[in-house]
């Protein structure tokens, strides 16, 4: 497919690349300019088919500090200056490359996400895989791989445009070729050999010491440094969390028995132990007989309550949080953990017992 008219592009940059200034302008609210600025000028020079119609520039601190507000302002600027349904509607939004700059990365990715949701406009950014915005946005935003600093500017620009053209023309992304940060999506394809044959071939190559490549890359898990210990257990506020699927009978939140999309929050304010009449396991993948007979076998509230009464620890958070660990994605689990963690911190919790089946 060829295009007679040029690719009309909206470009987004931080205050530095947008030419407003350095750290002294990092609190600058978003503003919009006609035509290209900074890297967008370079992009236009490299690709004659590109026409940057507007450039949005935002301060790093402003957008990273209050991302929701800043993104809403960007959307308003775009809505007021661009006709998204007219004959001259833009084809694409590009942001960055943000390299290893965390605030800039968050700004670029947040704008891409909002613009594709709000205007249905394809959007692409680029940054280094270790940019903190990657973990937050990679599933929803197409992020090209960029170098760690501006030495990789031209490569980053080329990559963003190539990815953007694929989005515009609805071409499939090829993980081995397109140099983007994988979004965890699966694609169906036809093959001549069954999975069993391919697996045996792979195994034979492995045994022979030959190179082979897995068809299913295991997720990589992050590491966190261990938190400091409780200094005084007898005064500590403790909370209970479980991935063992222990919920009030009837599963009021309809938490899935596999690939859970949510967690439940259940009051244990006046509950001294979990009864088999009141609670059950909805976790798939293990025989729930023993957990249903006595849910304390998975979430030991009876003993916790005894130890609280004996003042072994100070106090108990009045809710427990439950989800199902069975085939639940790491990304979801991370979201649950962040959400639960915020609630616990807000209640002054100091230590957590997390039980898993």
């Amino acid at each position: 497919m060829t295009m007679k008219s040029p690719y009309r592009i909206i470009y987004c940059l931080n205050q530095f690349f947008g030419g407003l200034g350095g750290e002294d302008k990092a609190d600058h609210p978003p503003c919009i300019f006609d035509g290209p600025k900074g890297p967008a000028i370079l992009l236009q020079q490299r690709f004659p088919e590109v026409q940057v119609v507007k450039t949005v520039v935002f301060g790093d601190n402003y957008i990273a500090g209050k991302t929701d507000v800043a993104v809403a302002e960007v959307l308003a600027l775009l809505r007021n200056s661009i006709d998204f349904s007219g004959a001259d509607a833009p084809h694409l939004l590009l942001a960055g490359p943000a390299f290893l700059a965390g605030r800039y990365g968050i700004g670029c990715a947040a704008i891409c996400k909002a613009v594709q949701e709000e205007f249905g406009l394809p959007a692409v950014t680029a940054m280094h895989p270790d940019n903190p915005a990657v973990a937050e946005y990679r599933k929803e935003v197409l992020i090209g791989v960029a170098d760690k600093d501006v030495m990789g500017m031209e490569e980053g620009l080329d990559r963003m445009l190539a990815l953007g053209k694929k989005l515009i023309h609805h071409l499939p992304l090829v993980p081995e070729e397109d140099n983007y940060i994988l979004q965890g999506r699966r694609q169906n394809y036809f093959t001549q050999k069954s999975g069993a044959e391919r697996a045996v071939e792979m195994l034979l190559r492995k045994i022979a010491g030959l190179p082979y490549r897995t068809e299913y890359v295991m997720p990589s898990f992050d590491r966190v440094p261990p938190a400091a210990p409780l200094s005084d257990l007898s005064r500590a506020r403790i909370a209970l969390v479980t991935s063992g699927g222990i919920v009030p009978r009837g599963n009021p939140d309809r938490i899935e028995s596999a690939s859970a999309s949510r967690f439940g929050t259940y009051s244990i304010k006046d509950v001294a132990a979990l009864s088999s009449e009141g609670y059950q396991s909805i976790h798939g993948g293990y025989d729930p007989t023993y957990a249903n007979q006595d849910p304390n076998r998975v979430l030991p509230l009876d003993v916790i309550h005894e130890l609280l009464t004996e003042k072994v620890f100070g106090s108990l958070h009045p809710y427990y949080y439950a989800t199902v660990g069975n085939a639940t994605s790491v990304a979801r689990a991370r979201d649950f953990g962040r959400d639960i963690g915020q609630r616990l911190v807000a209640d002054g919790v100091q230590g957590v017992i997390l039980t898993s089946t």
């Binding site: 966190v224 911190v345 898993s356």
Partner: protein, 69 residues
Amino acid sequence: MGLPVAHACSIVPISKTVGANRIIPTVAIPHPFGDPLKSREEEKVLRRELVLKALQALTTPISEQTVFS
């Protein structure tokens, strides 16, 4: 920074893989804090030991992933 978490679970290698720092091995997948072969009283003694171990793990300084077995 962060709250100490005692991860009580039956499959320690999974807990290690996903990055838990304070790991307390428990009895078995379908009944981590119990043993249906024991009497209810014996079971509760066992459960109490495991929970105390988890609480002690929360008070223990560590510098890396640690299994409190």
